[in-house]
């Protein structure tokens, strides 16, 4: 377990910023009420076995007691570095993203299932969409009852969505909560 170096930090923050915009500040500065200390600590990012975790400071202190190779996980995993060095957000980061999301898409009930099997979001499945989405923005996908289902990357801006035909892809699938079942072992 070690803190991220500078390059890794920029990579992680760029990814997060793509989804949350200025709300990234809230993620970094959120107070944590874990542990016995009366004054709240902060959350921080830690790297362990190529995976990036979002952990409260008090937990980090306690995790130092565990041997590095014995430590499986701590806090919330938010992503991992691939062998090629790229950073990918994983589905566990969904809660964090959903709370601070800047761009959202709501799916119709009929389209939820398809998305949770790993398919892209088509225009026909859109129940609602935040205005002012641009191409390549990170988008969090919700069900109509405001339950976060996953996230992806916008292919079309909100303006262009209007002119599309119902079978066009609006959001490219990145992760969905179906992965907890489908890819249980890899997570």
């Amino acid at each position: 377990m070690r803190p991220l170096d500078e390059k890794e930090t920029t990579q992680v923050f760029e990814k997060l910023f793509n989804f949350t915009g200025n709300n990234l500040k809230n993620i970094v500065e959120a107070p944590s009420h874990e542990g016995p200390e009366s004054n709240p600590g902060r959350y921080c990012f830690r790297l362990n076995k190529n995976r990036v975790y979002y952990v409260s400071e008090s937990l980090v202190k306690r995790a130092t007691n565990v041997k590095r190779d014995k430590l499986v996980s701590l806090g919330t995993q938010i992503g991992k570095f691939t062998k090629g060095g790229a950073f990918h957000l994983t589905i566990q980061s969904l809660n964090l993203l959903a709370a601070n999301a800047k761009h959202k898409v709501w799916l119709k009930p009929t389209a939820e299932m398809s998305f949770m099997y790993g398919n892209h979001v088509l225009k026909g499945g859109l129940g609602r969409i935040t205005e002012n989405i641009n191409t390549n923005d990170g988008v969090v996908v919700f069900s109509m009852s405001d339950m976060p289902l996953g996230f992806g990357v916008a292919v079309k801006s909100t303006q262009d969505c209007r002119k599309m035909d119902p079978n066009g892809i609006v959001v490219i699938h990145r992760a969905d909560i179906g992965e907890y079942l489908r890819m249980e072992d890899e997570l």
């Binding site: 709300n23 709370a99 800047k102 709501w106 609602r128 935040t130 405001d146």
Partner: protein
């Protein structure tokens, strides 16, 4: 004399040939008058002389002599009149019929004019006007000059010969001049103006009864209105206006070309041409006069009124462009009356497009656009407000497109049919085709003719004009938005020294809201981004109030949000777009709202449009708004809090999960989402964590002084999680606001009765520290009442203090008296 003349006037229902004669003469009249100028002067003299003599002599002669004098004069008069009438007939207008020997005159309608001319001081002018419409000015001057030149030379002669009504022309000239002089001395200015007024009225009525015959006297009216007297000018302009409104034909006059003039035409046509050209030339002169006077402050209102009503009444007629230009120029005038007039005119132009076929609409909108551009968007809002009365017929396109489709479809159908049947029925088909072609050809011809004849415009043409109008209107709107944005950014960057506000923005936003369904989808993205930036106001939510001089007021920003929602709603039924940014703005604006400064109606509308009409909300966001609205309704007056509570109830009914707020335990944990605590000052509704809080405000509100507010607060508090109440349509926040703000006055009386005792106590107790609550109540109740009670109270206080002071004084004096007495006693004792 007048009566007799009227008799003479009445007969002239003449056979048409006489009229034609007249016309011929009047065509030549310029030359004629020049030749016979003395004759003209002569006949004028005769009339005046008799009158002036009448006036002057009667004063001199004693009563006895009077009778005989009158008799004499009567005789003379009859004699005179015969001559007089003969002479009148020499009037070039009716030159030919004059010569009837028996004195029964074949008079045309014109002679009315000379009759009045006799009475007026302006007779010289008037008659000469009558003789010659076109070249009148020069003639009048000429004759006057002559008169003056000869006046001195021939004065003696005039005195000698003046009594006898003889016919030497020069003498007559001088005597006329003489008389004129006297009359002018005699008549006061009032009388002159009075007579001018009569003259105006008479010409006016004559023109209205028979415009074709009296068209020449138009220019005389114009002449009269050129006098110095303010009242006369006004009257003249107004009566000319009335006349023009009545006699201007329903078509545009085109003056004949030289070629056409050279052609031989019938008398009727000639007459018509003369009429039209005269009308047009006088109209032009009148307009020039109006435009001239419009620049003068004293006459501005009258001139504008005339221009406006002319444009309103005859927008199809010649010179309308210039009228329009003047009206548009004054549309944002500083003068309220002028501006209102111009706006009303433009509005009526927009509303009654049938009168001019829409061309003027396009012109008007374009020229307003140019005006806005030229003035850099610093105009009075009224000038943009007029667009609200524009009408765009949306069915126009559809009605036209449908038949085209049908035709093409039927053609296709026919083709297919033909192809199928071709092999066996070729010959038969040819015949049929030929016949059909014939029929269709004739049909087309008939259609074309019908179209040409019918008054209705081509649909395509109208469509084109509507498109042009629309694009011009939106050009203006976008220009204003852009301008507002630019000055704002300048102001925040500090290079700009406080812009003078954005007068046009509100009406511009209203306009966009109204025509939101007509916005081109391509503009939509830009429009929305501008609206977002404008709604954001000062910076990104952290702007301090001092750098807010260039930014918009709360009402304007609310308006931006409303417009954005309207635009979205009217265009995007297919795609449900969530306007997150605007919600965040509204969330903040609710805090910035101040009841006196900002418009409550706008806030109520925003609540309605954004919170009530929108279909779904996130739970977090809804909860945040519920909490904030409850807080808000604690701080402001009954109307605002009522609007807020109505919205709140609506939100609670829709979002069942948010009813957790009504439970008496601070939620937190999983229910409240990622944010554990409630942040009352957070700027983003999604991150406020409102679900972790409790709606304790409702408990306070149920004790609100206003009964309806307290009822609705109780009502909301009783909504529970378990009972899923039937959703029923409520009053909208707007209605609630309007009702309560109307009720304010009537409700105040109630308050006074119910709470007067209570309040007095409060005033007594809290006078030292007036709380916000107290001040609010005081403002709500009748001010006079409060003042009275306060003054009573303070009088009482003062009396008490006065009492105390007096008492102490009394004590002191009594003490000193006692001391004195003691002193005296001691002295006595000493002695």
């Amino acid at each position: 004399m007048g009566r007799k003349k009227q008799k003479v006037v009445l007969p002239p229902d003449l056979p048409p040939d006489v009229a034609e004669d007249d016309v011929e003469v009047s065509d030549e009249d310029l030359a004629f008058v020049k030749e016979n100028i003395e004759h003209v002067g002569f006949l004028n003299t005769l009339d005046t002389q008799s009158i002036t003599r009448h006036v002057t002599r009667v004063a001199d002669v004693k009563e006895d002599a009077l009778e005989s004098l009158y008799e004499q004069r009567l005789r003379k008069k009859t004699l005179l009149k015969e001559k007089d009438e003969n002479l009148l007939e020499v009037d070039p207008v009716d030159a030919l019929p004059v010569k009837t020997p028996d004195g029964k005159i074949v008079f045309r309608t014109v002679p009315k004019v000379p009759k009045v001319a006799v009475d007026t001081a302006t007779e010289g002018e008037a008659t000469s006007d009558n003789e010659d419409n076109v070249a009148d000015k020069s003639l009048v001057r000429l004759s006057k000059a002559e008169k003056r030149a000869k006046f001195k030379k021939l004065r003696k002669e005039a005195k000698k010969q003046g009594k006898e009504v003889t016919e030497i022309e020069e003498v007559n000239e001088t005597s006329q001049a003489d008389v004129l002089e006297e009359v002018k001395k005699d008549l006061t200015a009032e009388e002159a103006s009075e007579s001018k007024k009569y003259r105006l009225a008479e010409i006016g009525t004559a023109l209205l009864t028979d415009p074709e015959a009296n068209i020449k006297s138009l220019s005389e009216m114009l002449q009269i209105s050129k006098s110095e007297d303010h009242a006369i000018v006004t009257l003249g302009l107004k009566s000319l206006l009335a006349v023009f409104k009545d006699i201007i034909p329903g078509y545009r006059i085109r003056l004949p070309t030289e070629k056409e003039q050279a052609m031989v035409v019938s008398k009727a046509v000639k007459k018509m041409r003369f009429y039209e050209s005269t009308l047009l030339s006088v109209y032009k002169a009148y307009l020039l006069k109006l435009f001239y006077l419009e620049g003068k402050p004293a006459f501005q209102r009258v001139a504008i009124r005339c221009i406006c009503s002319l444009l309103e009444a005859v927008p199809h007629f010649n010179f309308r462009e210039r009228l329009l230009a003047v009206v548009v120029k004054n549309i944002s005038s500083a003068d309220d009356v002028v501006r209102k007039l111009c706006c009303a005119t433009i509005k009526s132009l927009f509303m009654n497009e049938g009168k001019h076929g829409g061309e003027v609409t396009v012109e008007a909108v374009r020229s307003i656009a140019a005006l806005v551009k030229a003035h850099d968007c610093q105009l009075h809002p009224d000038s943009i407000e007029v667009f609200m009365s524009l009408l765009f017929d949306e069915d126009l396109g559809r009605a036209q497109r449908a038949p085209v489709d049908k035709r093409s479809r039927s053609k296709k159908f026919k083709k297919r049919k033909n192809q199928e049947e071709q092999p066996n029925q070729l010959l038969n088909n040819d015949k049929k085709k030929a016949r059909k072609e014939m029929i269709s050809q004739t049909q087309e011809e008939v259609d074309a003719e019908y179209k040409a004849a019918s008054f209705a415009q081509d649909i395509a043409e109208r469509r084109r004009m509507q498109t042009e109008t629309l694009s011009a209107v939106f050009e203006i709107y976008f220009r204003i938005l852009k301008h507002t944005f630019q000055t704002r950014t300048d102001a925040t960057s500090g290079s700009y020294v406080s812009s003078g506000g954005h007068p046009l923005l509100v009406s511009c936003l209203n306009g966009i809201g109204k025509f939101s369904h007509l916005v081109d989808l391509d503009f939509m993205a830009d429009l929305m981004s501008y609206l977002r930036k404008l709604a954001r106001g000062s910076g990104d939510g952290n702007g301090s109030p001092e750098d807010c001089s260039g930014c918009l007021t709360v009402s304007e920003r609310l308006q931006c949000c409303i417009v954005a929602f309207k635009v979205m709603k009217s265009n995007l039924d297919a795609l449900n777009i969530d306007l997150q940014d605007f919600f965040a703005q509204l969330y903040q604006l609710i805090l910035e709202y101040r009841p006196g400064r900002d418009k409550g109606e706008v806030l109520a509308e925003a609540l309605k449009v954004m919170l009530c009409d929108d279909r779904q909300h996130d739970m977090q966001r809804a909860a945040a708004f519920i909490k904030r609205l409850a807080t808000f309704s604690l701080c402001f007056g009954a109307a605002e809090s009522m609007a807020a509570l109505v919205t709140l109830k609506h939100l609670l009914q829709k979002n069942v999960k948010c009813r957790n707020l009504l439970e008496n335990d601070a939620g937190g944990g999983s229910v409240s989402g990622p944010v554990a605590n409630y942040h009352p000052y957070s700027s983003d509704p999604n991150l406020s964590g409102a679900l972790a809080s409790v709606l304790w405000e409702l408990n306070l509100l149920s004790k609100h002084y206003h009964p309806s507010v307290s009822t609705i607060a109780l009502n909301i508090a009783n909504l529970t999680n378990t009972t899923n109440q039937v959703y029923h349509a409520n009053v909208s926040p707007q209605q609630a606001f309007a009702e309560l703000s109307l009720e304010k006055e009537s409700f105040n009386a109630n308050i006074d009765i119910n709470k007067s005792g209570n309040k007095r106590k409060r005033v007594n107790v809290q006078q030292a520290v007036p709380t916000v609550d107290d001040a609010e109540i005081a403002s709500r109740t009748d001010e006079v009442e409060v003042r009275k009670k306060l003054s009573e109270h303070f009088f009482l206080l003062r009396d008490i203090s006065e009492n105390g002071r007096l008492k102490s004084e009394l004590d002191r004096t009594t003490k000193s008296l006692q001391l004195y007495q003691q002193y005296k006693k001691q002295k006595k004792k000493q002695r």
